[in-house]
Structures are given as C-alpha cells and as structure tokens.
C-alpha cells in the first residue's frame, strides 16, 4: 500500500505495464511533457507525441492494437471526442463483432472529463453516456485513486477497447493544468478522498463491478466519479435527518453492474441517480430501465446536468450535481410513497 494521488495512481499502472510489456505504448498530444517521466524512461519510441490529429492517431491506435500493440491513446479532453468518434464507434467497437470474436482491439483510451473549475461548456463535459451507448466499448470512470489504479490495471490487460475517464477535479495534475495554473487566488471543491488515497500497486479492479460506498436502507444513490463524493456528503447530511442511504459507486458505465444496482434498489425501493453527464438519453435513463426490467418500481429521481454547462462559476455550480441538489432530491424521494416518484420540478415538456 502506498499513498498516491489520483493521477499518480493511473500513471503508476501505466508505468508498470510499460516496464513489463513492450507492447504497451502511449500516444497523444503533448504526452512527452504531460507524461514526462514515462517519456524520459521509455523514450520517444514508446511515448509518441502526436499532432492535433485525434482522428488519425485514434484510428492509428486501433490499427496498432489490432497488429499487436497495446496502445494507451490519450484524448486530452473527452469533449474532443467529436473529432475522432469514428475510430471508436465504427472501428474499435466493431472489429470483434465483425470477426465473430477472432480479432480483438486491446486499446485503452485515456481521457479527462468533468467540470468544476470554470472552463466553459466545450471543456467540462462528461459524455460517458454517449460512449457507453456504443456496443463493443467498455467505459470506466473511477472515483478514487485505488479504483483509478485498479481499473487502469484491468484496462491494460483487457482484450477489448476500454475508455478510461479521469475526472479533472480528482486528478490534481489536470486541475492544476487547466484550473489553477499556480494561483492561490482560486479554490475548487475537490473531494479529498478522491484526490489522494491508499493504493495497492498492481491490484486489479474488475471492469463491470460497482462498489457500495455506504449502506442505508432508505434510498439508493447511484453515481460515479465526483458524484460519488457529493453523494457521500449528502448521505452524511441526510443521515442526521434520519434518512439512510446506500451510495453505490458504479465505477464502470458499460458493462453495467446490473446485479449490484438491482440488489440495492430491491432493498431501498428508492433510486436517485447522480450523474454529471447530460440528463436525457444516457446513464440515468439506463438505470431506470435496469430497475424496471428487474421488476422493481422504485421512487426515482435524477440529479444530472440538464443543458450546456455555463462558464460562470456560480452558474456552473448550479448546473453540476451538488450536495444541496442531491440532498433536496433525496428528501423529495423519501417523501414519495414507494413506487411513485414525485413529479420532477421544472422539467420542460416537449409540447410546452
């Protein structure tokens, strides 16, 4: 066990894999400086600085993975996936299906996501729902250094493409890079347990397994990444009001740990999804489907991002799932009878 930062825990997994397996290479924009220690140790042949050509290097990463390498392709921000989605949607995700399992694509896409530092709507998106909607991809979103390490260990051993999302509010390196810039004059609401923690080097966290972070029989809060920490804080507060919460850290979006969700919600009969991704047509809806398909009829609510994330810090704070919004939504659910969600307040209707 060692204390590591969130980013450090990921880097350690990558470094260890590179030292052990010559097939592991890192490529992406600025990796020579962003991963300077890897660059200094493994050289330019295995840490390849790319031009701002995400479509080309992501497609190349797919080809490289097919031809024997195990590339870690870095997409600086997941917001930029729009310029290289084809490589994921139509290539990485489909080769195994097209070849009926004969040819696999052991590719890890390492990318950052999330907001909370005032960078505006093109640089703070989550987008894990969009990516998880693509059959053939695995999508993981850790919330602690231990999980970040363990999921990267697993991703590097996985035979198929894995999208590894690193939240910028957890990853000190990225927050410093994009948010703080050496200033003492700004502050961020960084979840401490997420930013730094104990890590057992080499310990895998299996892709597709959720973790119950807190137990309570009244309500299930399902979340991931920063949302887990917000949910835990809300649960702490709610406990003082007599409302006991399960906090389920999904950790993997696809494949979804249906059993863990169903087991929790079967007990609590209330489900609140806390999701930093866009509310509609994504993760939160999928969780609703999972519980309905399991024959459950929980009171259901969601605290998500409803629209393009605004730049202003105070507006951003309102747009992102906050402890306040979570607690308020939980209280509303607790008041509702089981199996009847309270009407969500203020949703636009299509016919309005």
């Amino acid at each position: 066990m060692a204390r590591m930062t969130f980013a450090g825990a990921i880097d350690a997994a990558v470094a260890e894999a590179m030292a052990r397996d010559p097939r592991v290479v890192v490529l992406g924009e600025d990796v020579h400086s962003l991963r300077a220690p890897l660059f200094a140790r493994f050289g330019a042949g295995r840490v390849l600085a790319a031009p701002i050509s995400e479509a080309a290097f992501m497609g190349a990463a797919v080809g490289a993975a097919m031809a024997g390498l195990r590339p870690v392709a870095e997409l600086m921000l997941v917001d930029f996936v729009g310029v290289c989605l084809d490589a994921l949607l139509n290539q990485a995700a489909k080769v195994e299906a097209f070849t009926a399992g004969a040819w696999k694509v052991p590719l890890v896409v390492r990318t950052t996501c999330g907001g909370g530092y005032g960078d505006g709507g093109q640089h703070e998106q989550a987008l894990w729902g969009l990516l998880a909607g693509i059959p053939g991809l695995s999508v993981v979103v850790p919330s602690t250094p231990a999980d970040a390490h363990g999921l990267m260990v697993s991703a590097l051993r996985h035979e198929g493409p894995v999208i590894f999302l690193e939240h910028k509010l957890l990853s000190g390196q990225w927050l410093e890079f994009m948010g703080r810039g050496g200033r003492e004059t700004v502050s961020f609401d960084v979840p401490r347990e997420g930013a730094e923690g104990e890590v057992t080097a080499g310990a895998e966290v299996a892709i597709g397994t959720a973790a119950l972070r807190r137990s309570g029989d009244d309500l299930t809060i399902a979340s991931l990444a920063v949302g887990v920490h917000r949910a835990l804080a809300a649960a702490e507060r709610l406990a003082t009001e007599g409302l006991r919460c399960d906090v389920l850290d999904l950790r993997t979006v696809r494949p979804m740990d249906r059993d863990a969700i169903v087991a929790s919600v079967r007990r609590t009969r209330r489900l609140l999804v806390v999701d930093e991704d866009y509310r509609e047509f994504g993760l939160s809806g999928e969780l609703a489907a999972v519980v309905l398909e399991a024959g459950l009829a929980p009171a259901f609510g969601r605290v998500c991002v409803d629209d393009t994330i605004p730049y202003a810090r105070h507006l951003e704070d309102e747009a992102l799932p906050s402890v306040e919004r979570i607690a308020a939504a939980a209280r509303r659910l607790a008041e509702a009878p089981h199996g009847a969600s309270p009407p969500p307040s203020g949703y636009p209707t299509a016919t309005s």
Binding site: S53, G59, A67, K94, A102
Partner: protein
C-alpha cells in the same frame, strides 16, 4: 518480387473473383452495396507482389482484389458474402468488413478510415517487427477526408513504414473528384513531406516497380510514400449503380430521373436559366462519362496484362483462374448449411 506471369495470374484471379461476386449479387445472394474492385486489380497485384509475411494492409470498400492476391481463402470469403455461418466471419461482417488476422489485413466501409488504420499497422510493425511495413489503400474521394489528410501528416511526422496507395479513378460515387478537389493529389501529399510516386494503375508491373522502391525505403525506416495509381471504375460505384444504369439505358432505366430533372429545370421559381442550364449540362456530362468508362477495355488492367503475355500462356492462366474461382463458388454454395 513476382514475375510478369505471377502478376497476370493475380490480376486474372482477382477479376474472376470480382465477376463471380457480380453474378452472385445479381442473383440476389449477396446483399447491400457491392463495390467491385474491377479496374483496380493491377494495383492489388502489383503491390501485394512486394509484400511478405508480417506486412499489413488496410483496405477500403473495395477490398477483394487485394485479399485474393494475399491468398485469403476464396471459399471463406464467398461464404461470408453469402451471409453463411461457415463464412470467414460467420456472416457477421459482409463485403465491406472482410478481414484476416493471419494476413494482417482489415477493411472498413468508412471512407478514409483505412489510412489511420494503416498508420497504426505501420506503428506496430516498426515497434514489433522491424523491417515490416504497412500499406493503406483508398480512393481519390477519400483523399479529402480529414482523418486521411491527418494521416498524411502523421505518417511523415512519425516517419512510419507506410505506403499510402490512392486508387485514383476520378470518381466518388457520382462526384467527379476534380470538381471537389483543390490542387493535385500527388503534389498535395508531397507538401505533407511524403515521398510520392504516380503510376498507371492499369499496369501491374509499373505499380509493382514503384511500390517496390517505396516499400524498400519503408523497410529501411526511411520516409513513407504516397503512391497514386490511376485506375478506371469499370463497374460503376457499386453494382446496380443508377448512374451506370441510366447511362446504359436512358430511355428505360433512366426515365424517371430524367423526367424529374427536366420538369424541375422548367419549374417556376428557382435559379436563372444560365444556372439551370449549367446544372443540366453537368448531369449530362456525368452520364456521358459513366457510359464511356462502363467496362472500358482501354483502361482494363486485365486487358493490359494480357497483351504483355504470350497469348497461349495468358489463356492458360486465365482458365486456371476462372476454374479456381468456379470451384470456390461451387464449394461456397455447397449445402450443409442454410440460413
């Protein structure tokens, strides 16, 4: 490198295979868009002649001539395109996604995607199999696709052991490439810092020679090459291409379209007469060209290769190729499996 008769044999095999695909498609036994590689067989044969084990190829929506030349099992490919459970990919892939892991060959139906894929193959080759190379095949239309343009740069910047082969047939579906392309593609590639070559793609030997030099350079870790091979589209964009059908039989097949165009060009409201006239003339020009190229023998790589051979030898090799493909078609159609 193979001799002339080897090249001819590959061209003949590829043509026999493409023609068999055409027949199966017309019979309704192959579904969807079937893009034949007729007209490109010389490019396929010439380049595959320079490849060896450990090399990799990334292919576009006309993958079959290269795959036949590489020696991918014809029966397995046919069964795949027939959608059979005993096909190359158990019927999951179809004609636009034929792959062979053993041959390090993969195709994709997204225009331009073969270029980054090939760059990745080249990166893996350099890292794991020094001396091995990769080849990416694509069309002239693909040369305007962002990921392909990016790859021209990436290949140069990373000095990848990659040969980029542009099968330039002047068309992208119904679009004349010259109408939507600025500059010349070879000069464009050169400006990205690539070595370039420009050959007659109907001439398999010329392709082989140009590719050979480029591939040798790549094997030695020298700069990557863009090779433009000028080819002809002998069977339209895909089988059943409405442009070709209209060009062949304007009075019957093209009637609906031509009537609609005429009516529209006379409709009230719209552009002035000049602009309308230019549009109609432009469409007529497309039909004229499509008709001219339809199975045009002058630019047919098989004809060309045949001429360079002793007639008897050519006939023997062609017969062999036809027989091989006929056997494969028979074997592919064998029962023992039904959808």
């Amino acid at each position: 490198m193979r001799s002339g008769s080897d090249l001819f044999r590959q061209v003949a095999r590829a043509r026999a295979f493409e023609d068999a695909l055409g027949a199966l498609w017309r019979e309704g036994r192959i579904s969807g868009e079937m893009h034949l590689g007729t007209g490109e067989e010389g490019v396929a044969a010439g380049i595959v002649a320079c490849l060896r084990e450990g090399d990799a190829v990334a292919l576009d929506h006309r993958p079959t001539p290269v795959l036949t030349a590489l020696g991918v099992d014809l029966v397995a490919m046919l069964r795949e395109m027939l959608g059979r459970e005993d096909g190359l990919h158990r019927g999951r892939a179809g004609h636009m996604h034929l792959m062979s892991r053993a041959h390090l060959a993969a195709s994709s139906g997204i225009v331009g995607s073969s270029a980054p894929l090939g760059a990745g193959f080249a990166l893996a080759a350099r890292t794991l199999r020094p001396g091995a190379v990769a080849v990416a095949f694509f069309g002239d239309g693909a040369a305007n696709q962002g990921m392909l343009l990016e790859t021209l740069n990436l290949a140069a910047a990373w000095s990848l052991p990659l040969l980029l082969v542009c099968k330039d047939n002047g068309w992208a579906i119904t679009t004349r490439t010259e109408n939507v392309t600025g500059g010349d593609l070879v000069a464009r590639a050169a400006a990205f810092g690539l070595e370039t070559a420009d050959v007659d793609g109907a001439d398999a030997g010329a392709v082989r020679d140009a590719a050979g030099a480029a591939i040798d350079r790549a094997r030695r870790g020298k700069s990557p090459t863009f090779l433009r091979a000028q080819v002809s589209r002998l069977d339209g964009h895909f089988l059943g291409d409405p442009l070709v059908r209209t060009a062949r039989a304007p009075a019957t097949e093209g009637r609906g379209l031509l009537a609609a165009v005429t009516a529209a060009s006379l409709a009230r409201g719209g552009a002035g007469l000049g602009a309308r006239g230019r549009s109609v003339l432009g469409l007529m020009d497309l039909l004229r060209r499509a008709r001219r190229e339809d199975r045009d023998t002058a630019r047919d790589p098989l004809e060309r290769a045949r001429r360079a051979m002793a007639p008897a030898e050519a006939a023997r090799i062609e017969d062999e190729a036809l027989a091989e493909v006929a056997r494969a078609v028979d074997a592919a159609g064998e029962s023992g499996w039904r959808a």
